[in-house]
């Protein structure tokens, strides 16, 4: 009997849960209390201590400007936890709704929606972002909207595909015969079955979002120059990887830990529900 017993094993689930929640709690605390937790200001420069190895004084070492990496990782939690999850949430909600509707109804709705989706999928990279900046200016809100907008098609596509498969299943037919409303069918019959795929897609987009913020910096959106945002730190410091690995490793591990924790947490919640 493969899998089934292990999945129900409460102690394993609990350990995973504890680890995931702890990590998230640490980052949320960092986002809220960076001022208290960080030993140095994230922007304070000590040029004579440029690229110092990790040590007792600087747990994660210093970067090319002599800034304390530990403080920057802690301070970086706030921008990361503010923008990336919001953008992904926006994309997930929008994408799920659009994907369910187009996948279920098909026909003209689907055709039109797909056309529009494809139009945007084809646009050159960053075009919508640059346009948004030109029209709406540079701000955090614009950033969240732009990223959310950028990820919506991907999630819509995934949800639509999964819906196409589910709508042919017998339980959907059964619900229809029972006279359930469309909203019920979509929300209570189909959605729970495809939730797994949605969650996977979203958590991957989370990592994507963190690094997209760094990429958008060059058009002036995203992390302002000097921001301790993790994605920006990794992007800025990868050129120093050979001789100052700590400037890349710690922010990168921060991102990975966030992504992994959220994913594991999502997995555990889903397993709990279906058990």
């Amino acid at each position: 009997m493969i899998g089934l017993r292990a999945a129900r094993d409460p102690s394993r689930r609990r350990v995973t849960l504890v680890i995931a929640v702890t990590v998230l709690a640490v980052w949320i605390a960092s986002a809220l209390f960076a001022g208290l937790l960080a030993p140095f200001s994230p922007s304070a420069q000590l040029p004579r201590l440029k690229f110092a190895d990790p040590s007792v004084h600087h747990l994660f070492g210093t970067d090319g400007f002599g800034r304390d990496v530990f403080s920057r990782v802690i301070a970086g939690a706030r921008p990361v936890l503010t923008i990336a999850p919001l953008a992904v949430l926006l994309a997930t909600v929008a994408g799920t709704v659009l994907g369910l509707i187009t996948g279920y109804f098909g026909g003209l709705t689907d055709s039109i929606a797909m056309k529009i989706l494809q139009s945007f999928a084809i646009l050159p990279p960053l075009f919508p972002a640059v346009l948004a900046v030109a029209l709406l200016g540079r701000s955090t809100t614009v950033l969240v909207v732009v990223l959310g907008f950028a990820f919506t098609p991907l999630i819509t596509w995934t949800v639509r595909s999964a819906t196409l498969v589910e709508r042919e299943k017998q339980f959907v037919e059964a619900a229809r015969l029972r006279g359930e409303s469309t909203a019920y069918i979509l929300g209570r019959e189909i959605l729970p079955n495809i939730a797994g795929s949605i969650i996977v897609e979203s958590t991957v987009r989370l990592a994507d979002a963190v690094f997209s913020i760094a990429t958008l910096a060059f058009i002036g959106l995203g992390a302002a120059p000097g921001s301790p945002d993790w994605g920006a730190q990794v992007a800025d410091n990868r050129v120093n990887l050979q001789f100052a690995w700590w400037t890349v490793l710690f922010p990168a591990v921060a991102v990975a830990s966030l992504v992994i924790s959220v994913s594991l947490l999502a997995d555990v919640i889903r397993e709990r529900r279906s058990a």
Binding site: S43, Q45, F65, A224, N240
Partner: protein, 570 residues
């Protein structure tokens, strides 16, 4: 060609100055090369100097100390591993692989402006005069040159027997055609601005088959610099040249183009009919493009390439401690200028500008951004590398008490506009000014946006309240001063207007007298230092790493130019 009356007169003045210790032997040599003095006359001047000592503080470029293959650090110490004068190479042959950053526009000798494009056409084409890394001039297609009419007319004698790689002989008509193309008022070349106010279309005449005469608009003692590699688009092209370069790459240079790919790079083989017999030693050169600077360094480390056209000092750390590599370094006149609009708040008051300048820790900027390799700047455009630069203006240093005094309680905040390559500089400035209580908002624009618009009315790099602009080096200080700081300068972003400074700049160009040049330079420097329309924190050093286990004869150049004539395998 023997020296004329004017040259003999200058030689005499030079000898006097040298004897009195006012200028060093090196400066004598440099000036002599500009004046186009013949070898015997130079010898006579030097003999009159007597001693071999360098008598005054001289910060020009690489002192030829050998480093015996030991690794050098990218910052701080300044060593070369090969002398820049043409010593006969030990071995011969081989193909040198060179890394370069992919040009985003076509390689074009007339309009090309990025270092990789320039390096490519510098391998196949040549100038009248070459610019050495120490700012001395070396005859290339011109054999000698002499001024007349106090420097308002220059007569240039071409080297005899030079042919293009297709056999066409080089003659005065060809040289005139090349220059006419650049000086045409409709010319698209940046060279047009370099000759602005000095030489105009129609000013070039052919005296005979191998003599070209330049009649200038005004006397300009440093004219030979303008017809040297310093104005990088002035390569001599065949009379019938048409774009694109890769289809018509016929030049007089040491190499011929054998293949070209806009994405991957260019390949060259030795020009067997090159006029400098015996050179180049190399069988060929391969330029490989990289889109990413770090990838370029990794390519160097893995042996895919053995040297680079341009290098970023901070990226060379992995190579610096590797004994197989040497990093040649030379002081340059490249600079990142912090411009403030003197006609807009908050910079319309001198004390505010001085406050910002005094709040900066220049050595820290140098350490952070250049690993300490740069030379400190003192808020004026007379770089330490220029012989005429004053050395007695007190170096402005960080003094937070003085800043408070200058601000007199006023709270200052402003937006600093820049393009991505200057991002790190902006971040350092922002933090340093924050410590002094001055709040800076960083306004990063894409490069396209930064330089777009109309240069007369609204382009960001010339019209924002405070901005950072990077400049490649120039051999003559007025090439910065006239466009950037003169009242009617075409690239005057600060809108500074000082008639006394204008007059001094004109006087500097007109005179050949070394002492007079120093006097005018001092006037300009003091005015700029006092009024502070721009802040200059440091002058860039130029570095070039290369695999010294495999090659000798590679050196750095203040403008990242390439000269591989003396490269040989170890």
């Amino acid at each position: 060609m023997s020296d004329n009356e004017l040259q003999r007169q200058w030689a005499g003045e030079l000898a006097d100055l040298a004897r009195s210790g006012a200028i060093s032997r090196r400066e004598v040599l440099r000036k002599a090369s500009v004046f186009g003095l013949s070898i015997p006359l130079i010898g006579a001047v030097l003999a009159a100097c007597g001693s071999d000592d360098d008598k005054s503080a001289d910060t020009t470029s690489a002192s030829p100390t050998t480093a015996a293959g030991a690794g050098t650090t990218a910052g701080g110490s300044e060593t070369t591993s090969a002398s820049t004068s043409g010593s006969t190479p030990a071995g011969k042959g081989g193909i040198l692989a060179v890394g370069a950053l992919t040009p985003s526009t076509e390689v074009d000798p007339v309009i090309g402006y990025d270092a990789a494009s320039i390096a490519i056409f510098q391998l196949t084409h040549e100038y009248l005069i070459w610019l050495n890394p120490d700012f001395t001039l070396r005859p290339q297609l011109a054999e000698s040159w002499a001024p007349e009419e106090e420097g308002k007319r220059w007569v240039v004698s071409l080297r005899k027997g030079v042919t293009f790689s297709d056999g066409t002989p080089l003659d005065a008509d060809t040289v005139k055609a090349s220059y006419d193309r650049l000086l045409d008022p409709d010319s698209e070349s940046a060279a047009l601005s370099a000759f602005d106010g000095v030489l105009e279309a129609g000013g070039i005449t052919v005296q005979d088959e191998s003599t070209v005469v330049f009649d200038l608009v005004r006397p300009y003692a440093d004219f030979p610099y303008l017809i040297s590699a310093n104005t990088y688009n002035t390569v001599i092209l065949p009379k019938d040249y048409t774009a694109p370069y890769q289809d018509h790459a016929i030049g007089t240079g040491p190499f011929v183009l054998t293949s070209f790919s806009a994405t991957d790079g260019a390949k060259f083989s030795r020009n067997e009919t090159y006029w400098d017999t015996g050179k180049p030693g190399l069988d060929g050169v391969e330029i490989k493009f990289y889109k990413d600077p770090q990838a370029q360094v990794l390519g160097l480390q893995s042996g895919e390439v053995d040297t680079q056209v341009t290098s970023i000092i901070s990226l060379l750390t992995p190579v610096a401690n590797n004994p197989d590599f040497t990093i040649d370094q030379v002081n340059g006149t490249g600079v990142n200028v912090f411009t403030m609009r003197v006609d807009q708040a908050p910079f319309d008051k001198k004390n505010i500008r001085q406050a910002v300048a005094t709040a900066l820790d220049r050595q820290a900027i140098n350490d952070t951004l250049s690993n300490g390799a740069a030379a400190l700047g003192n808020d004026h455009l007379l770089a330490p590398a220029y012989p005429a630069s004053p050395t007695d203006i007190p170096q402005r240093e960080i003094d937070l008490d003085k800043v408070k005094e200058l601000l007199a309680g006023e709270s200052v905040s402003f937006k600093l506009t820049f393009e991505p390559p200057l991002k790190d500089f902006a971040v350092v400035l922002q933090e340093q000014l924050k410590q002094a209580g001055i709040s800076v908002e960083l306004d990063q624009r894409t490069s396209d946006e930064f330089y777009a618009g109309d240069q007369a009315t609204d382009t960001p790099w010339l019209f924002t309240t405070a901005n950072l602009v990077g400049w490649a080096g120039r051999a003559v200080p007025t090439q910065f001063i006239i466009p950037m700081i003169k009242s009617d300068g075409i690239w005057n972003g600060s809108k500074y207007a000082n008639p006394a400074l204008d007059a001094a700049a004109d006087a500097y160009d007109a005179t050949t007298d070394e002492a007079e040049k120093k006097k005018q330079a001092k006037i300009i420097a003091e005015a700029m230092h006092e009024d502070t329309p721009v802040i200059i924190t440091d002058w860039s050093a130029s570095v070039r790493p290369y695999n010294s286990k495999k090659w000798t004869g590679i050196s750095a150049h203040p403008s990242s130019f390439v000269d591989f004539n003396d490269v040989a395998p170890v």
